[in-house]
């Protein structure tokens, strides 16, 4: 398919338009309960953004990294300190600088990828997770010497107006996520993404083609950490409305890893699908527990069942569909398209079958 606008094909533009109409017009008109914004849509956008970060380093560049939540914490606390200490930066400015600070950590913790790979790299990148959280806990300055352990996040002020309603927060997250998703897609489809994938698929050949392993890997780690940092800042300021290092523990890193794998490694839309699934599935299980079994099943058992099912799904996807839910979605669309538009050819097919 020929690109009609930049690197986008007609199909991409239609998809983008559909997503925009859905998220800007339809969702705000029809969803009025606060619960949906504060507990589903806002965390979904934030975590999808972090998952894109994970995709860049893991799905595209093939570097097994586990420490997304650490970079998110770096972004969140950077944001807190920037708003506190450099108020002139403004919300968008602080958000960008928080991302850059997280990216600096990304570069630092991405350096082991030059020497170790696979599961060993995963262990090495865990350092980011523990180091960043430790650093924030250890030095009171990062928390502005707050002794309570949980700091309330400042209000988001854009153009002099504080944004407090869930709908406004949703739009802030939506705007940031949309812009960064488009940028990520541009990179993934352009020469940058090709370098990442070349390193992922066959690093020695990539090097022989002039792709610098050092530069490509460090770049991927930096971009990944930038996305995680921005996502972390949004996560803290729009969703949690508070800052505590515990919120960015290793469980969150694993969650993002699952979102990445279930969504489909090396896909951008998979980040959104994976994040939606991991967020909504517990909600679904809970409502099944409440409405079908009327609370007969203990809540702790339900959350254990959730873990079991996630684990099983991971294994099933790894074996049968490594490209994840994004690929399933693609297949589904394909089969619907075939059903809708092949009614003319069906008769030919059936007559062909008869002649056999």
């Amino acid at each position: 398919m020929k690109p009609v606008f930049m690197t986008y094909t007609k199909k991409d533009l239609i998809n983008l338009a559909v997503c925009m109409v859905l998220s800007v017009l339809i969702i705000p008109t029809f969803i009025t309960t606060e619960y949906w914004y504060t507990s589903i849509l806002i965390p979904w956008l934030c975590l999808a953004l972090a998952t894109i970060g994970q995709q860049v380093v893991m799905g595209y560049t093939g570097q097994l990294a586990l420490g997304a939540a650490g970079f998110m914490a770096a972004g969140a606390f950077a944001m807190f300190n920037l708003i506190l200490r450099v108020p002139d930066l403004g919300f968008v400015g602080s958000l960008i600088v928080s991302g850059l600070i997280a990216a600096a950590f990304g570069i630092l913790f991405g350096l082991p990828s030059l020497k170790v790979r696979g599961i060993y790299l995963m262990v090495a990148t865990l350092a980011s997770q523990f180091f960043i959280i430790w650093m924030i806990d250890k030095f009171g300055w990062f928390k502005n010497y707050d002794s309570s352990g949980i700091i309330t996040a400042q209000d988001i002020v854009i153009l002099g107006k504080p944004l407090t309603t869930p709908l406004a927060m949703y739009f802030v997250c939506l705007a940031v996520t949309t812009v960064l998703t488009l940028l990520a897609m541009n990179m993934a489809r352009g020469s940058t993404g090709r370098n990442w994938m070349a390193v992922r698929d066959m690093d020695i050949a990539a090097e022989s083609m002039g792709v610098s392993l050092l530069r490509t890997k460090v770049q991927a780690f930096a971009i990944s950490a930038f996305y995680c940092g921005v996502a972390g800042a949004l996560f803290a300021f729009c969703y949690l409305k508070s800052l505590e290092p515990v919120a960015f523990d290793i469980k969150l890193s694993f969650k993002i890893l699952f979102m990445c794998i279930l969504g489909g490694l090396g896909t951008i839309n998979g980040a959104f699908i994976g994040a939606a699934f991991i967020l909504l599935f517990p909600v679904l299980l809970n409502s099944v527990g409440n409405n079908v079994f009327h609370g007969a099943i203990d809540a702790t058992i339900i959350s254990s069942i959730e873990q079991v099912i996630f684990g099983l799904l991971m294994i099933i996807f790894m074996i049968y569909e490594p490209l994840g839910m994004a690929k399933l979605w693609e297949n589904l669309k394909q089969s619907i398209r075939l059903k809708l538009f092949s009614s003319g050819t069906k008769s030919v097919k059936s007559s062909a079958q008869k002649s056999e």
Partner: protein, 264 residues
């Protein structure tokens, strides 16, 4: 049948001087020297385990020889890495295929255009006009190569799904996309049938003829080697046992002994 070459064989472009390479106690290459002249088709032959692929890996910087030097374009390269060699205009293919399996044929070939891509990731993210211009140039060149190799119909297929012979073609395409002055081909025709081999020979000669690209190839099919190469170097047990035109090599007693065995 003599024909007029557009690119006359010139001075040495690549010189390998006294290379020795060993892995632990195993000597892969011992004190080996030979050169490659500009615009020629140079074959490296030898029995299995003679050190041919190791030789290419030394030239390309994947292996670091314990002794000896490699000079390329008149300059001795002190610290060879695949990246430096690529930047100087040396490209290669691999014996066991080293394609980017999950990427399409076109994308694989586009990676070969890496050194002709100057824009950075930020410019790519923002899709600045110069990125689009550069991308178009690279795509046009890649499409040219794809139609030259007659693989238009598979250009959007992930290479991992292609049969072996086609993958070899794609790998040649990727090497061609770099517009390098010299291409090392590690067994470009291994595992191919007669027709595929004939096609491959045609491509190699055509590239050499039309673009003047110097070709260094490792090959086992003697018919092919004697047919297409200008000069042949024969390795056996990591040493050069013959170096010259195909006719000289065929008459060389040491080479005959190495291939047919000697009665003791």
């Amino acid at each position: 049948m003599e024909y007029e070459r557009k690119f006359k064989i010139g001075k040495p472009i690549l010189e390998v001087n006294n290379i020795s390479l060993s892995f632990g106690g195993v000597k892969a290459i011992t004190d080996t020297s030979f050169n490659v002249l500009e615009h020629e088709v140079r074959a490296i032959i030898g029995p299995n385990g003679a050190g041919k692929s190791s030789m290419l890996n030394c030239i390309n910087g994947i292996y670091k020889p314990q002794q000896g030097t490699v000079s390329f374009k008149g300059k001795q390269i002190p610290d060879i890495t695949p990246n430096i060699m690529a930047q100087m205009g040396l490209s290669r293919t691999f014996q066991n295929l080293a394609l980017f399996k999950r990427m399409s044929v076109l994308d694989n070939i586009l990676v070969g255009r890496k050194l002709h891509t100057k824009t950075n990731f930020l410019e790519v993210a923002l899709q600045l006009p110069k990125v689009k211009k550069e991308e178009k140039l690279n795509r046009d060149r890649s499409e040219e190569i794809i139609s030259f190799l007659e693989i238009e119909d598979i250009k959007d297929t992930p290479v991992g799904k292609l049969p072996y012979g086609l993958q070899k073609k794609v790998e040649l395409g990727r090497a061609l996309a770099t517009d390098s002055s010299i291409i090392l081909l590690d067994e470009p025709m291994a595992g191919m049938n007669v027709e595929e081999k004939r096609d491959m020979c045609r491509f190699i000669l055509k590239v050499n003829d039309e673009l003047g690209t110097t070709m260094v190839l490792i090959e086992h099919d003697m018919g092919v080697v004697m047919d297409i190469s200008d000069r042949v170097v024969v390795l056996d047990y990591g040493k050069v046992i013959g170096d010259g035109t195909p006719d000289e090599i065929m008459a060389n007693q040491k080479v005959i002994d190495a291939y047919l065995g000697v009665a003791h």
